[in-house]
């Protein structure tokens, strides 16, 4: 025989499903306390740990006992309630929803619940405390927790419409906290702070450690939470102590978005060795979402043409511009003469809205000074290397395209014609690049290989064999496993079939390796023409000495690259995969 549900509904103030009813007398004794509770609805089941207490009922004639339940969680919204099942020591106890069962919510529900006479005992006391809660009123009420918990959210960055990436810290007296939940409208999401990505916060420990009797220096956390935001509703954290006390901490969504938000999220993270994989396995999907949000629909801009580029160019040279513009002056000066402008087109993609004015002025003077026609694309947003290259590709009219960094400078005037000729001569070489030299004449790039970096999860990172050394006495086209995106030439058809660079890679690394590896799927490989050399004034490596956020972006890209290619590359001959 089953019991019965009299009243039920969801209360936003308590962040829980509240019910009262009765259970048959023979099953009722073992119910009070924290029990696994399932609610069976028409469209599904909601399960969580609930608080069950007895209520005093005069109307049951000794056949049953009153029961009240507090079940924290989101508003299930799964249709009509059918039954409730409480997991007790002797097996499940079931209460049915009947025609007489009343459904109500919020204040009315709380009023009805408070009218119940809760039986004495700890479970009853706890339930009374829950029902007495005033609910979140927009203020921080963590001071109610008797100084047991110190907590703060530093940044809450929205991911998609309902997700959040939370960074903050929590320090508490040992075993003081029962649960931490993120609440928004009808949603209540348990925050597993213990298993979040933990960060050292010595500053927090120094301030609160003694008072809270804690020595936990890793009290910072970075925590992606999905489906936790009710759009338009306020958001707060609810912390419940083991004594049933509850305090609230308002969460303000960060005004930051896009790259700034990614940067903020990655600012305090410095995983090494074994931590790297576990951090990015948790964080990676959120970063992917943030990056996709960042790029969604953002391709607006405008083109200004200086001079008339040929209608059917042999090659479209695509140069993304970000930061320093003065390199452009030297680059264009080096393109001058030798009929470059009659054969090829030069497309600069200004990926730096703040520099649009200066770039326009410079392009104007460069065209008029050097006579090289320039197609200048001014992007409305800063998107990063891959999207900027892809925008350039969408503009390109050339039979071939050359992706070129702004800090790569020609030596011989015919270098581009020679790389294009390589492609024409050897079609199975899909992507060809030059020998790249540093300013002192040593090798910057002659094709890329891979090597695992133990401090970075043992993932495979592209390497530049021979870098910094004098060039070997090689000549002609030499096959390479992959080549750098600093200067690569391919047919436009190939570039378009590959969809350009994968924009999932943030800012600019690994996308060149990824593109070359994807090109293999279309049956073409890479090569370096050692007879064609250019200077590449490569910026200092991001892997050392960079700001932490930038290094973490590189690690994110490495994570993506590793997931996609790690196993296949490790199986290739000549790739040393073990760190």
């Amino acid at each position: 025989m089953n019991g019965c549900v009299d009243i039920h509904g969801y209360s936003e103030a308590t962040g829980s499903y509240l019910l009262c009813g009765w259970a048959p007398i023979e099953t009722a004794d073992g119910l009070p306390g924290f029990r696994p509770v399932s609610l069976g609805f028409e469209k599904g089941t909601a399960s969580a740990e609930g608080l069950v207490a007895h209520t005093l009922r005069d109307d049951l004639g000794g056949q049953g006992r009153g029961v009240a339940i507090h079940l924290p969680g989101s508003d299930p919204a799964l249709g009509r309630l059918l039954f409730v099942e409480i997991e007790a020591g002797d097996g499940p106890v079931r209460l049915d929803s009947t025609a007489g069962t009343e459904h109500t919510a919020n204040r009315a529900l709380l009023d009805r619940m408070r009218q119940q006479r809760v039986a004495p005992g700890m479970s009853g006391e706890r339930l009374r405390a829950v029902l007495d809660r005033s609910g979140f009123e927009g203020r921080d009420t963590l001071d109610r927790l008797d100084g047991q918990v110190a907590f703060q959210i530093d940044e809450a960055v929205a991911t998609g419409t309902t997700g959040l990436l939370l960074s903050g810290w929590m320090l508490s007296a040992p075993d003081a906290v029962r649960t931490v939940r993120l609440r928004s409208g009808g949603r209540s999401t348990k925050l597993a702070i213990d298993t979040a990505i933990r960060l050292d916060r010595a500053d927090v420990l120094a301030k609160h450690g003694d008072r809270l009797r804690s020595r936990q220096v890793r009290c910072g956390f970075l925590l992606p939470a999905e489906n936790c935001l009710e759009p338009g509703e306020p958001c707060f954290v609810e912390i419940e102590t083991v004594h049933g006390d509850v305090g609230y901490h308002p969460v303000r969504l960060s005004a930051q978005h896009g790259l700034v938000a990614i940067r903020a999220a990655l600012a305090n993270l410095s995983p090494r060795y074994d931590e790297v994989a576990s951090v990015f396995d948790r964080l990676g999907p959120t970063l992917t979402a943030l990056n996709a949000d960042r790029l969604a629909g953002k391709r607006d801009g405008r083109e200004i043409r200086f001079g008339r580029a040929p209608a059917e160019p042999v090659c479209s040279v695509i140069v993304p511009l970000y930061g320093r513009l003065d390199y452009m002056e030297v680059q264009v000066a080096l393109f001058a003469g030798n009929g470059f402008g009659d054969r090829h087109e030069l497309i600069y993609v200004v990926d730096d809205p703040a520099a649009a004015g200066a770039a326009t002025h410079l392009a104007d003077t460069l065209f008029r000074r050097f006579g090289v026609p320039i197609r200048l694309w001014l992007q409305n947003d800063n998107l990063g290397f891959a999207p900027a290259c892809n925008v350039g590709l969408s503009l390109a009219a050339g039979r071939t395209v050359c992706f070129l960094n702004s800090d790569v400078f020609g030596t011989a005037p015919d270098w581009l014609d020679r790389l294009v000729a390589d492609l024409d001569r050897l079609p199975e070489t899909g992507i060809v690049g030059p020998l790249l030299l540093f300013e002192d004449g040593s090798v910057q790039h002659q094709g890329m290989e891979y090597a695992p970096l133990p401090e970075f999860g043992g993932w495979l990172f592209p390497t530049h064999p021979g870098k910094g050394e004098r060039p070997e006495a090689l000549s002609g086209l030499v096959r390479a496993r992959v080549i750098t995106g600093a200067c690569m030439v391919m047919t436009r058809e190939l570039a378009e079939s590959l969809g350009g660079f994968d924009e999932a890679f943030v800012i600019g690394d690994f996308e060149d390796s990824d593109l070359c590896l994807r090109a293999r799927g279309l049956g073409v490989g890479c090569a370096v023409d050692h007879d064609v050399s250019l200077f590449h004034l490569e910026r200092k490596s991001q892997i050392t000495g960079a700001e932490p956020w930038r290094l973490n972006v590189t690690l994110y890209n490495a994570w993506l690259h590793q997931k996609r290619w790690g196993r296949r590359l490790a199986a290739e001959a000549g790739v040393r995969a073990d760190a």
Binding site: E329, D364, T365, R368, R369, D407, F409, E439, L537
Partner: protein
């Protein structure tokens, strides 16, 4: 062509009538009517001498901030039909000498296409921008392009001095890392690009003229091709108003011996800058160097020029102090120059040194360049104690014009022009003790001054220098 001064080039035909004169566009970074620096003066003399010889010549100089701007006009002709002024339309890039002015290349190309000069001889690339050479090439490909080098500016970002920025030590050779160390705001890559940019445009230059072998060698080490370098002094400054110049010119042309200096006592043109001391200019009664009776009046050593650290004024003052301490009292250092444009801190240093100097230092203050020959006639020898390399200081030519030997630092362009013991003496750069020793020798060794004065050869006249320029033009056209 380095190692081949113009003297040894076949000076084919001296007579004007037999010589086909090339047409020359002379360019200078500042119009000579507006400023009077060394490059402007050389350019102007060259232009004037070419015209005087009957050659077709034009002058193109940059405007000054005070120039009248004609709205929308890039090139104007305020001074006459063969005389052009360029008004830059954009702030100049003094790091890699790029001229962002979008109008200039076309304007310059059109001008040379119109003038069709055989030679474009530029006395600088600043303000025009090094891109000028490709514009000339584009506008009138037949023109040969000649560039006079006036200092180490293309090599060294430190005002072309090849001195370290902080320590002011002499720099022997540029490198990306050494230059970046001098200029922490620029990286090695910036210096790489700077050099690439300059050399890329220098490729269009057919001949570089260096006024000293030393400077030419520095540019060769920097990467200019040997066969494009020639050593030839700048055109000499105007000598009008000098009673001696005509004499020199006559002697130089005829090989006659030096004339006696006139006896009229010249006056300094400026008063000393302070009047508290006792070192006013004494009324002049002396005569030319050869008349100096060493027992009668002390030896006069002249310093002419800016009283700056680079010109070695403190080295000189220190040497004077040492001479006084050694009780060598038959020698007076006469300073013609100015330090009012020096940094305040250094002005204080010079003022104090002058205050403390003994009677063997006489400070005359600034002088007008038109008086330089007259003033030099009053002294016995010149001192050039520069602490930097120098290029080919014009004061050497002026000293030689006046038959005066020169005591100079033993480096760079100075050391090249002064042969120790022949037409002057060399001392160890930046070492006052070494300078004091040389001056003491001069004051105490009988006959030394006379020997050195006899060793001075007159510099070529403007007409001779023009011939040498024409020889070089012929060689480059051929």
């Amino acid at each position: 062509m380095i190692g081949t001064t113009a003297d040894t080039l076949m000076s084919a035909v001296q007579a004007d009538g037999e010589r086909r004169l090339p047409s020359v566009l002379v360019m200078t970074h500042s119009h000579p009517k507006l400023t009077r620096g060394g490059a402007e003066i050389s350019a102007n003399t060259l232009f004037r001498e070419l015209k005087a010889r009957g050659a077709k010549a034009w002058l193109l100089g940059c405007s000054s901030p005070k120039s009248e701007v004609r709205l929308g006009a890039t090139l104007t002709q305020p001074y006459g039909p063969d005389d052009y002024v360029y008004h830059p339309n954009a702030p100049f890039d003094y790091f890699k000498f790029a001229n962002p002015d979008p109008k200039f290349p076309d304007e310059l190309a059109e001008l040379v296409a119109e003038l069709k000069p055989d030679i474009v001889h530029s006395h600088h690339f600043v303000r025009f921008g090094v891109e000028m050479f490709s514009a000339i090439r584009r506008g009138w490909p037949q023109a040969k392009i000649v560039l006079s080098l006036h200092e180490y500016l293309a090599i060294c970002n430190h005002h072309g001095q090849m001195m370290k920025t902080v320590t002011y030590r002499l720099c022997e050779k540029e490198s990306y890392s050494a230059c970046a160390a001098c200029f922490p705001q620029h990286g090695e890559r910036d210096f790489f690009l700077r050099k690439r940019y300059l050399q890329m445009f220098f490729e269009d230059v057919d001949l570089f003229i260096s006024p000293s072998r030393f400077l030419a060698e520095r540019f060769m080490a920097w990467g200019l091709p040997e066969e494009k370098l020639a050593v030839l002094e700048n055109m000499p400054p105007e000598r009008s108003g000098s009673p001696f110049a005509a004499e020199w010119d006559r002697r130089a042309m005829s090989g006659a011996p030096q004339a006696e200096a006139p006896q009229t006592p010249p006056k300094p043109v400026a008063m000393p800058m302070f009047s508290g001391g006792t070192r006013f200019v004494a009324a002049e009664t002396g005569a030319g160097s050869k008349k100096r009776p060493s027992a009668v009046r002390p030896l006069k050593i002249g310093f002419f020029g800016q009283m700056s650290p680079l010109k070695g004024i403190t080295v000189l003052m220190d040497a004077a102090r040492r001479l006084k301490a050694q009780k060598i009292d038959n020698l007076v250092i006469e300073i013609y120059g100015d330090y009012s444009s020096q940094p305040l801190e250094f002005q204080k240093v010079v003022t104090e040194a002058l205050e403390e100097a003994g009677e063997n230092v006489v400070f005359h203050g600034a002088y007008d360049n038109s008086q330089v020959n007259a003033l030099m006639q009053r002294i016995d020898a010149m001192v050039i104690p520069s602490t930097w390399w120098e290029n080919s200081p014009v004061v050497i030519q002026e000293a030689f014009t006046n038959g005066k030997p020169v005591i100079c630092s033993n480096i760079g362009g100075m050391a090249e022009k002064i042969v120790h013991g022949v037409n002057g003496l060399q001392f160890e750069v930046s070492r006052p003790a070494s300078l004091a020793e040389m001056l003491a020798d001069l004051a105490t060794k009988p006959g030394l001054l006379e020997t050195l004065a006899a060793g001075v050869r007159p510099p070529p006249t403007a007409a001779e220098m023009l011939n040498r320029h024409l020889d070089l033009y012929d060689a480059v056209i051929a």
